[in-house]
Every structure is written in structure tokens, then in C-alpha cells.
């Protein structure tokens, strides 16, 4: 197929070309500059983190062979040839996994309750006083920025070793994270129902209960389920600092080089996380329609 393309006269073309080149070259220069700054930052970072490519490459083999070793039983055969031997401690591990799940469940629920109480005070449109809002927001920020495991470390000293410290750490972190997400939902809520309820002479509590809550409750549940999923992952390491759950068992296995135990526990954690992921996804889909899944 032939087609005629009308070419612009040369001078016009040259002017356009010139302008295009200028525009592109300015952008290219900016990208190049940004890239240079970034590479410089990386170089400084590499220096600071004691990155040594030589050790990395000489140890990379170790990484592969580490996975080779954790997939071998003591007698040298592959783990999946003898499942009974691989998962020899499954009763104990299942119990600890159950404890991990309970830690994240109780922690998430407690966090959700506190977040529920606090979020109306933190949201722009429902908070009654400016100073109160500022204070609540800072508290939530603090609770969510300090990593959960740091709280766990401190709580282990205050409340003693055991899952209680883990639960409280998960609860505080969830309060911070959920409080922010909840208050964002409230800020997106429609305020007309609130005016309607207020015009009947209702107080603040009734406004929240009858005008705001029906709009936001589904979003709350969805975020809380999502948080539960994240917390399951997080409470699997609470045992590293003595705050209960499967982590204790895992850290011992890794530190003492019980290779096949490491892989067995990791497999159990991953499978548990999968099951929780899929079931909370299913639950959110059932409760709030397909959109809420992502």
C-alpha cells in the first residue's frame, strides 16, 4: 500500500526539530543529573553498609548450599523422602503456630477497638476540638512509627517473657496503623447524614453512631482483616525477642544449625500465611464484594 505523507517545508521542520531537541535535551540532562546523584548516594551507602562484592560472590555459593543443607535430613537424604522425620516436631510447632495466630488475633482486635475509639477524634471532619485532634494524631503516629518488635523488647522487660508482651506490642502497632486508616475513611465519608442527624437535636455520640458509622463500618472491617494478615507475619518473629509464638523455636533452629528443622518451620509459616491470606481475601470478598479484595 502506498500512501503519500506530506512533508513540511524544510525551514519549518528545522525549527520544530530544534525545539524538540532542546526540550528533550533539557529533560535528559535532568534525568542524568538525578541518576548521578542517586549513584553517588548508592556509593556512599555501599561504603557505609560495608558492602564487599568479593565477599558477596565468595559467599553466594554459601547461600545456595545453605538452602541445599536445610533441605537435607541428618542422614543426608532429601527432606521430602521422609516427611515423618522432617516434621518430627509438628505437634509442638502446630501449637506454637496456633499461639502465633492467637497473638495476632487478640492483638489486632485490641488494636482495632482502640483505633475505633480514637479515630473519630483524629479525623478532620468529626473531631470536636483542634488540640484533641492534634494530640490523638501524634499518639497514633508514635504508635505506628516505632516498630512493633521494639515495643516487644520493652514489654518483655516490663511484663515478663511470654506471649503477653507480643500481644501488647501487636496491639499498639495496630492501633497506630488502623487509627490512621480508619480516620482516613471517616474523612471520606459523606457529611450530609451527619447534618441530618444533628438537625434532629442529636449529640455528638448519636451523630457518630447513626450518621457516620453505617458509612464506614465495612471499610473498617476490611482494613482490620488486612491488618490481621500483616500481623500474622509480624508475630511469627515476636519469639525472636522472647515474646511468644513460633519465632522462639525458629531462632533456636537457625542459630544451632538444626537445618531440617529450619526448613520445616519455614514451610509451616509460609503455608499458614498462605491460608490466612486466602481466607481473609475470601472473607473480604464475601463481606464487601469483589472490589474490596485488592
Amino acid at each position: 500500500m502506498t500512501s503519500a505523507v506530506a512533508l513540511l517545508p524544510y525551514q519549518q521542520l528545522a525549527a520544530l526539530n530544534e525545539a524538540y531537541r532542546k526540550a528533550v535535551s533539557r529533560r535528559r540532562l535532568r534525568v542524568a543529573l538525578a541518576a548521578a546523584v542517586f549513584v553517588a548516594a548508592l556509593a556512599i551507602a555501599a561504603f557505609g553498609a560495608e558492602v564487599n562484592l568479593k565477599t558477596f560472590f565468595s559467599y553466594l555459593g554459601n547461600f545456595v548450599s545453605y538452602f541445599d543443607r536445610i533441605l537435607k535430613l541428618d542422614d543426608g537424604s532429601r527432606v521430602w523422602t521422609n516427611l515423618g522425620e522432617w516434621f518430627w516436631g509438628w505437634r509442638k510447632w502446630l501449637k506454637l503456630l496456633g499461639e502465633t495466630l492467637l497473638i495476632s488475633y487478640v492483638g489486632t482486635l485490641t488494636g482495632a477497638i482502640f483505633a475505633f475509639v480514637l479515630n473519630f477524634l483524629a479525623a478532620e471532619n468529626t473531631s470536636s476540638s483542634r488540640t484533641l485532634r492534634f494530640a490523638v494524631r501524634r499518639i497514633l503516629e508514635f504508635a505506628r512509627t516505632v516498630p512493633g518488635i521494639v515495643f516487644a523488647l520493652i514489654f518483655v522487660i516490663a511484663f515478663g517473657l511470654g506471649p503477653m508482651a507480643g500481644v501488647l506490642a501487636v496491639a499498639i502497632h495496630s492501633t497506630g496503623a488502623l487509627g490512621k486508616q480508619f480516620s482516613e475513611i471517616v474523612e471520606n465519608a459523606d457529611m450530609k447524614p451527619v447534618e441530618g442527624v444533628r438537625s434532629t437535636g442529636a449529640g455528638w455520640m448519636s451523630c457518630m453512631r447513626f450518621a457516620v458509622l453505617p458509612q464506614v463500618i465495612a471499610g473498617y472491617a476490611s482494613y482490620a482483616l488486612l491488618r490481621f494478615e500483616i500481623n500474622v507475619r509480624e508475630s511469627s518473629v515476636m519469639g525472636f525477642v522472647g515474646a511468644g509464638g513460633i519465632g522462639q523455636e525458629l531462632v533456636v533452629a537457625i542459630r544451632k544449625f538444626y537445618y531440617s528443622d529450619v526448613s520445616a518451620i519455614l514451610v509451616m509459616i509460609v503455608v499458614t500465611v498462605f491460608i490466612i491470606d486466602i481466607s481473609t481475601g475470601w472473607l473480604r470478598g464475601r463481606l464487601f464484594g469483589r472490589d474490596a479484595r485488592t
Binding site: T145, V146, P147
Partner: protein
């Protein structure tokens, strides 16, 4: 207010039976679910050794600890802490960058519009999911066994665990890209590689850059705790000072982490807005 005539209510009842006579099952579903949730909660409290006396004495202890934390004071170890903080920031930056570089090509393989074959895509997806199922701290422990104690193990731990998260996010971003540009490149005679380079990447890169910047912030937080297991950074100092009950130093270290995270958050937010525009980032 006037009431509806009786006849009309009867009519309404006949018209909307679901509203006037909800079956018991649907009426009881919500209270039953709430009751179950509450029962599991109570079971959890009992099973996890919660006791009021322990809670109260723990709170008293905690109050005492908080009193001891004021005022935050680094003592004479400020230079040491600053160096540890620098290490933490380095770990976060390097780990995130490495993970992004590794995850981009693999993310392509997990995207539906690049690899149509379900058979090839499924294992890649599951692979990402299993990596994400394992917490960063666990990866840190594994890498310590491989490359020894120190920040390098931390970099690798962040790299691996972010690799899982990025793989998923990137492949989702790629799937959301507009297919018409890819088709345009193909129509003008481009190869598969050209399609990806000129059709897909220009759409996807800003989204990906935004996600990477967002992760640098959350990784600063992760990098500040992996020291607890010995993988370098400020977490090592923090765990040590908590163990020896130097509470003023602990509160100072926590403050340092908070400030660092806030600063990184500010910078990465600014950069994100610069790259993808204010509306898209919000």
C-alpha cells in the same frame, strides 16, 4: 406525622417480604459472628496467660520505665549512634534499590499481558508469595548464617524480602498498563523487546519509581530493627541498651529512629510528587 393506612402496609408487606420477615438465619448472622469473635478473643486471653495482676504490675513497671526514659540522653556514645543510624539508612537504600533492580525483570514474567501462559506465570507468582510470607527478620537470620554478622547481611535480607513484595507490585502495575501503546509499537513492526521498552516501560516506570520511594521509607523502619538479630544498623545498639536497662539511651535511640523515618518520609514524598504528580501520589 401521619401513619400509613393499614391496607397499604399490608400491601407493602406482601411486596417486600424480605424486609418485614427476614429469615432467622440472616437476622442472627451478625450477632453470631460477633459472639464467635468475642469468644475466640477471650479464649486467646486465657490461653496466652493474661492475668489482671500481671497486667497491672506490668503497667506499673512500664510507667516506671517511661519515667526513667526522660530526658533522652545519648551519654558519650552519640558518634557511635550516628554511625549506626548512617548504617541503617545505607542498608535501607541499598536493599531497596537492589530489590527493585532484581524484581523488575522477574515482575515482567509474572504479568499477564507480557507472559500470557498461565503455566509459566503461576509458579513465579507463588514464588513471590512465599518470599513475602517470610518476615525480614527471618531473612536477616538466614543471611547472617551465610555472610556473617554485620550490615551486609541486613542489605541482603531487605533485598530478598522486598524482592517478593516488589515482584507482586510491579507485575500488578504492568498488568494495569494501557495495552494500546504496546499494540502501536507492534503495528509499526517492533519486536517483543521493543514492545516492552517503548510500549510498556514508559507507562510503568513512574508508577514503579513511586512504589520504590514509598518502600525506602518503610525499609528505613525495617532496617532499624534488623540489628536486633545482629544484621547491623541502629537496632543492634537499641537491643543492647534495652538489655542493660539504659533507658535514657533507649529513648534517645527511639527518637533518632523516629526523626530519621520522618525525614526520609518527607524526602521520598517530595520526590514521589515530583515524579508522578500530586494527585496520583495521594
Amino acid at each position: 406525622m401521619s401513619r400509613l393506612p393499614l391496607q397499604q402496609t399490608a400491601e407493602l408487606r406482601a411486596k417486600y417480604p424480605d424486609i418485614f420477615h427476614r429469615p432467622a438465619a440472616s437476622r442472627l448472622a451478625t450477632p453470631a459472628a460477633a459472639l464467635t469473635a468475642f469468644a475466640v478473643f477471650i479464649f486467646g486471653l486465657v490461653d496466652l496467660d493474661f492475668s489482671p495482676t500481671r497486667f497491672v504490675s506490668g503497667l506499673r513497671e512500664l510507667g516506671w520505665i517511661s519515667m526513667m526514659m526522660i530526658p533522652p540522653d545519648p551519654g558519650s556514645s552519640l558518634p557511635l549512634y550516628l554511625k549506626a543510624l548512617g548504617e541503617t539508612l545505607s542498608i535501607a537504600l541499598l536493599g531497596t534499590t537492589l530489590a527493585a533492580l532484581l524484581a523488575l525483570p522477574v515482575g515482567l514474567f509474572a504479568a499477564r499481558n507480557v507472559i500470557p501462559s498461565q503455566l509459566l506465570r503461576f509458579p513465579v507468582r507463588r514464588f513471590f508469595d512465599s518470599i513475602r510470607g517470610v518476615d525480614t527478620l527471618i531473612w536477616a537470620l538466614v543471611w547472617i548464617n551465610v555472610v556473617g554478622l554485620g550490615p551486609f547481611a541486613g542489605v541482603l535480607a531487605i533485598t530478598v524480602s522486598d524482592f517478593g513484595a516488589f515482584g507482586k507490585l510491579f507485575s500488578e502495575a504492568i498488568e494495569a498498563a494501557d495495552q494500546r501503546q504496546v499494540e502501536g509499537v507492534r503495528a509499526s513492526g517492533g519486536s517483543k523487546l521493543h514492545e516492552i521498552r517503548f510500549g510498556l516501560l514508559p507507562q510503568v516506570l513512574p508508577v514503579i519509581a513511586g512504589q520504590v520511594l514509598y518502600f525506602i521509607e518503610s525499609n528505613t523502619r525495617s532496617a532499624s530493627i534488623i540489628g536486633i538479630v545482629g544484621a547491623g544498623g541502629i537496632g543492634l545498639q537499641l537491643a543492647e541498651q534495652i538489655r542493660v536497662l539504659e533507658w535514657q539511651k533507649v529513648s534517645f535511640l527511639v527518637l533518632m529512629i523516629l526523626v530519621a523515618v520522618a525525614v526520609i518520609d518527607f524526602i521520598s514524598g517530595k520526590l514521589r510528587f515530583a515524579i508522578i504528580g500530586r494527585r496520583a501520589a495521594a
